[in-house]
């Protein structure tokens, strides 16, 4: 069970704006990437640690979160470094959805959640059942629990750990 404050984003938050161009060539590092995460999304986040310091646990978004077709993993690393434990949205862009699975950050599809939450509402998420509760507004949303492979990768802290472990044990993949 995860509980904490949410930040509600607009439609079409681009990966390009979550991590702005000048950081695309920096190393992928949660601590480092989180300093300027969301810098291009809102002017108020365009300062060192501005987003991180708000202490959000969840992001709630509408359509096509993290879109624009960037494959860089700084986006997911930056969000995780900023303390984000799950993102709920109507839909996600494919590339970052994949990266999120590989990093073990739940990207959870749940219809209409964006219109039913305000920034700073307190949410509670149960990854096993997929239930999302808005404790501030006393509302509930059901999402699909993660597929077994996704849950397995998430449980070991991401695809790198999953594969490293298989290689070390000499086990086949897939």
């Amino acid at each position: 069970m995860i509980e904490g404050k949410c930040w509600v984003a607009d439609d079409y938050v681009l990966a390009y704006e979550i991590i702005i161009q000048q950081y695309w060539t920096s190393p992928i590092d949660p601590e480092d990437n989180s300093k300027w995460v969301m810098a291009g999304v809102k002017e108020e986040f365009n300062a060192e640690n501005a987003f991180k310091d708000r202490g959000y646990t969840f992001i709630v978004a509408a359509h096509n979160f993290a879109g624009g077709g960037k494959s860089i993993e700084h986006v997911i690393a930056g969000l995780m470094g900023a303390g984000i434990k799950a993102v709920f949205a109507d839909s996600f862009a494919r590339l970052q959805f994949r990266n999120a699975i590989n990093y073990g950050l739940p990207f959870v599809t749940s219809k209409d959640i964006a219109i039913s939450c305000d920034t700073d509402d307190v949410l509670r998420y149960n990854p096993d059942t997929g239930l999302i509760q808005n404790l501030t507004k006393d509302k509930e949303f059901q999402s699909l629990p993660a597929a077994p492979f996704v849950a397995e990768v998430g449980a070991v802290g991401g695809l790198m750990n999953y594969v490293r472990d298989k290689i070390a044990k000499g086990e086949a993949i897939g």
């Binding site: 681009l14 879109g67 077709g69 860089i72 590339l95 994949r98 490293r164």
Partner: protein, 422 residues
Amino acid sequence: MGMTITEKIMAKQSGRDKVVPGELVWVDVESVMTMDYLGKTCFDKFRSLGKTEVFDKSKVICVSDHLVPPPNQKFATMLNEWREVVKKHDIEYFYDLGRQGIAHQIMVEQGHVLPGTISIGTDSHANTYGAAGAVGNAVGVTDAAVAMATGKAWFRIPEAVKFHITGEWQPWVMAKDLSLHIMGMMHWNGHLIYKTLEFTGPAIESLDMAGRMTLCNMTVDLGAKNGIIAPDQITADYLKDVAKGDWEMINSDEDARYEAVYEIDVTDLVPTVALPDKLDDTVTVDQLKGTKFNKAFVGTCTNGRLEDLAMLAKILKDKQIHRDVNMIVVPASQTVYLDALRAGHIETLIMAGAAVDTPSCAACAGIHTGVAGDGDIVLSAGNRNMKGRMGSKNAQIYLTSPAVVAASAITGEITDPRTISI
């Protein structure tokens, strides 16, 4: 129930008889591409998995494209580190400065992508590989590192959408116009998120490889997982001398299942332009008649091929580019450059007043070679036009075909190529 071409390829590469949309499978990949600015991280991650040798030294393809030639010290140093790591792993195919090209062009042109197989790359436009009847997919560095170590990648089998394209291509209308038309119709990252897009029909069968690559290239911008065109004689002729392995013709079954089928007749298609900032804000070229611009750019993995340069040369032959327009042309690879040079296109373009630069991504991602500054209005044959994409956030980018860029470069205003006399 039959399977689509993408399902068949994924079934074959995962050792199954059948797969259905929604299933997660591990597949064998044919090749893994990585490039200059993410490649070192890929190799570092790969080694952190406990491996020192990649799964196949001839199937990890390394390309220098985004950062070459280095415009500053930071990138020069990054390139040096990149070269060192590629050397250290004894990679067979390293397309570095001098033998370079945009990775997606190289992958297809040099035969690293084979029909009926799956190739992945650490750059979003890896969807381009679908032009060769392969599944081409963009991934992050984690997936690439895993594939370098194991030769495998995980995939969710995507639902399929078919675009059945009929009719006759009209003069000056290009595959890019069809791409932009579909973009306007389906929306940028809209209903097609996660889908496999299949292009079929007589107007696809008559399209050359360059056009097929343009079409598949931009499926990533529709939000799709991949775009694919079944291999045929055109594919076979193209691959004849370059294929780096055996391959087979795989096609969709007659009774394959599609979530939706869209019919488009290209006879009615006209040159199309995407307005600044959003790719799906498209209009026909006549609606922008008279719109002034000051920079013209033709290149990229979308439209930097020989056929694109030939189109430019055809329109610009014995003409002069308008004095208020700076035009930069960047061939997509050294092979394209050399072919265009031998065909006389480069001379034609220089005589017309265009600057031709060495193959690279150039200003497409705002890194170097003609980046946009404040107040610039760019008419580009590239693939993305969001604010800041080519440099300044205070620049505007119109996207269109090479034919529209060439015709417009002569007049200094957005111009319908069908109105130019050649």
